[in-house]
């Protein structure tokens, strides 16, 4: 078990720089998730930590020692790949024991380690099968078993659930989380799925275009996003972002949209009177209010537990997630309010959160 520290890591391919000096610190035993849209550099960063990509500038530290120039096998890490990367010509047992065989452990040691890992993941009946005879979920577990056998200081996961169907993904998510609780190892996990990030992480690292946008616990990121990108990336359906100017409405600060609609603003918005800003309202913070903002319902999507409503308030499309099964019809009117205290304020140009 070890901590992982990245200091100002830069990665360039030739003259093209893809990681612009990122820094993060994963504590010993922490489950850190790197999340972001495709191309944001999260996989590149993970591979640099693994040693599969060289680092152009900056330092990577595992367990207190700088590992920049070390080969993957010297870094005491194990990795679970998106496509599992199981050796097709070896049995599950041999797949899991390969690393130990390479480091010349005794046969007994290897057998014990493989059996132990197989026990943790319920792989015993599959030990003599070949990868092609296994289902996707089983292969994923073998890939994890291969990592566990090595007893590494750090586990690295590169989008391991992307190739699984939705139901299996949910199930494997909790299995990985349970594994983390059982082993207590440091785990760094890459995904593009914000739901995975929210449910699994101790801390989330949100990345975009080669930079880190925000690091925080899931609730920190959810409640106080650092900018509008993070705000809309985390949470599904996405946060509603409304543009407008901060005006005074009977003594209180309010946002006046381009179509004239007035939106309530939290008290601290008063400091920004006259400025054009973005107001961020999460769909789940919207509720029906009789004298609130008027909107016309476009679509109604009941999911059973909630009702997703897409509506048009003036010129602004708004998505709301409502509970308690209100009876709504497309085309009909809806008057709504929202939890003003939890709304976000963002600068229009930079997207940064406004204090």
């Amino acid at each position: 078990m070890a901590s992982v520290t990245v200091r100002n890591a830069v990665k360039s391919y030739g003259t093209m720089e893809v990681l612009h000096g990122v820094s993060l610190a994963a504590q010993d035993g922490e489950f850190v998730v790197l999340v972001g849209p495709s191309g944001c550099g999260k996989s590149t960063l993970l591979r640099m930590i693994a040693g599969l990509e060289s680092i152009t500038d900056g330092d990577i530290d595992i367990g207190g020692r700088v590992v920049n120039e070390l080969e993957p096998k010297e870094r005491d890490i194990a990795m679970v790949f998106q496509s599992y990367a199981l050796y097709p010509h070896m049995t599950v047992r041999d797949n899991m024991g390969f690393a130990l065989k390479l480091s010349r452990r005794s046969r007994k040691e290897i057998e014990d380690a493989v059996n132990r890992a197989a026990g943790i993941l319920a792989l015993e009946p599959l030990l003599d099968r070949y990868p092609r005879q296994l289902s996707g979920g089983q292969r994923q577990r073998v890939a994890m078993g291969r990592a566990i056998v090595r007893n590494p200081a750090v586990f690295l996961f590169d989008e391991p659930l992307s190739n699984l169907d939705a139901k299996l993904r949910v199930q494997m998510r909790s299995e990985i989380k349970a594994l983390h609780q059982r082993l207590g190892s440091t785990m760094i996990y890459v995904t593009h799925d914000q739901m995975e990030a929210m449910t699994m992480a101790d801390r989330i690292v949100v990345m975009r275009a080669g930079r880190i946008e925000q690091i925080g616990t899931p609730l920190e990121i959810y409640d106080t996003p650092a900018n509008s990108f993070v705000g809309s990336f985390i949470g599904s359906p996405s946060m509603n972002l409304i543009e407008g100017v901060v005006v005074d409405d009977a003594g209180a600060a309010a946002l006046k949209g381009r179509d004239g609609t007035l939106w309530s603003l939290p008290g601290r918005a008063a400091a920004y009177k006259g400025r054009s800003i973005q107001l961020g309202i999460r769909p789940e913070h919207i509720h029906i209010k009789s004298d609130g903002i008027a909107a016309e319902i476009r679509t109604v999507e009941p999911t059973g537990a909630e009702t997703h409503v897409q509506m048009q308030a003036g010129d602004t499309p708004v998505v709301a997630v409502l509970r308690d099964r209100p009876s709504l019809a497309p085309g009909g009117p809806l008057s709504f309010g929202f939890d003003v205290a939890r709304a976000g304020l963002f600068d229009l140009q930079t997207g940064n959160s406004l204090a």
């Binding site: 680092i55 120039e69 925000q214």
Partner: protein, 312 residues
């Protein structure tokens, strides 16, 4: 709250601090060791000989003694003074032309015929392919027995009341015998090649043509042949290149004779180099051959624009 913001403030764009990582250096070193056997072999047995061959062609080395630089004397002698050269050149071109045309026609014919079968396609492919996997020398020796005076060929010809002189000792027929032997040994590969190409023509094209009223003849000339023309081109170029270098069957059957009737460039290189030991002169012949191959290949590439249809 965010490290990113602090970091953005600290670091100036450091894009091109290119310290070459030790990981990359290590990879480069590994690559060197992996390549070493191949590099040594290629340098010693491919690059060095190519260079030496050029140099040799400008000398008059005869294996013993020191080589003397003679400039282009070899080439001059080749083209002006050597009485045999033009015969040899003509023989080579004649053989190549005749063999190439016959090979392609026969192998395309066989390929089409095989693809028209309902059963046993692969066995016919194997049968025609067999000679290509056997030593040309052995093939030539067997045919030589058949062509021998008093042998099978003569007997068959006499039965058909065609009086034929000793094939291998006749000025014109000797070359034809070489062509026949080469064809028997060589059509198999192209047959399989073109058969595979024909099998890859999507059936939908042919069905559409049938509905449009095309006969089998039409379908062959207007659809199947054009669609396999890239493969035809490939096979033609490969066959031309190898047929220009023909040697084995000539060594066995005729030794270039009678007279110089079947002497080709390939045989001449051997003869001048390893029977007369005129290494320099033989090298210049080899380079003429190379130039011929290049020219022929270039010509074929130029011609392909007209008759080869590519998918894109």
């Amino acid at each position: 709250m965010t490290i990113a913001q602090e970091t953005a403030a600290e670091t100036a764009p450091a894009a091109t601090t290119r310290r070459r990582s030790r990981l990359d250096v290590r990879e480069g070193r590994t690559a060197f060791f992996f390549l070493l056997p191949s590099l040594i072999g290629v340098t010693l047995f491919l690059v060095l000989p190519i260079v030496a061959s050029i140099v040799l062609s400008f000398t008059n080395w005869k294996l013993l003694g020191k080589p003397q630089f003679v400039g282009v004397a070899n080439y001059v002698r080749l083209f002006t003074a050597d009485p045999q050269f033009w015969t040899i050149l003509r023989n080579t071109l004649f053989f190549t032309a005749e063999y190439l045309v016959l090979n392609i026609v026969i192998s395309v014919g066989l390929a089409v015929w095989i693809s028209s079968l309902k059963v046993g396609q692969r066995w016919f492919r194997v049968i025609f392919f067999l000679p290509t996997f056997t030593p040309t020398i052995a093939v030539a020796i067997v045919w030589m027995l058949m062509f021998a005076p008093g042998g099978l060929f003569e007997t068959v010809m006499r039965a058909l009341s065609w009086s034929v002189p000793g094939v291998l000792t006749d000025q014109t027929l000797a070359m034809q015998a070489v062509v026949v032997v080469s064809l028997w040994a060589g059509v198999g590969y192209n047959t399989v090649l073109f058969n595979a190409a024909l099998d890859m023509v999507p059936a939908s094209y042919l069905e559409a043509a049938r509905i449009d009223g095309a006969t089998a003849w039409d379908r062959f000339w207007k659809i199947r042949l054009p669609l396999i023309s890239p493969t035809l081109f490939f096979g033609t170029v490969m066959t031309a290149i190898t047929s220009l270098q023909v040697f084995d069957q000539i060594y066995v059957m005729t030794r270039g004779g009678p007279g110089s009737a079947t002497a080709t460039l390939g045989y001449a290189v051997y003869q001048k180099g390893f029977q007369n030991f005129q290494m320099g002169y033989a090298s210049s012949i080899a380079w003429v051959m190379f130039a011929l191959i290049m020219a022929l290949t270039a010509m074929q590439f130029w011609l392909q624009r007209k008759w080869v249809h590519y998918d894109n």
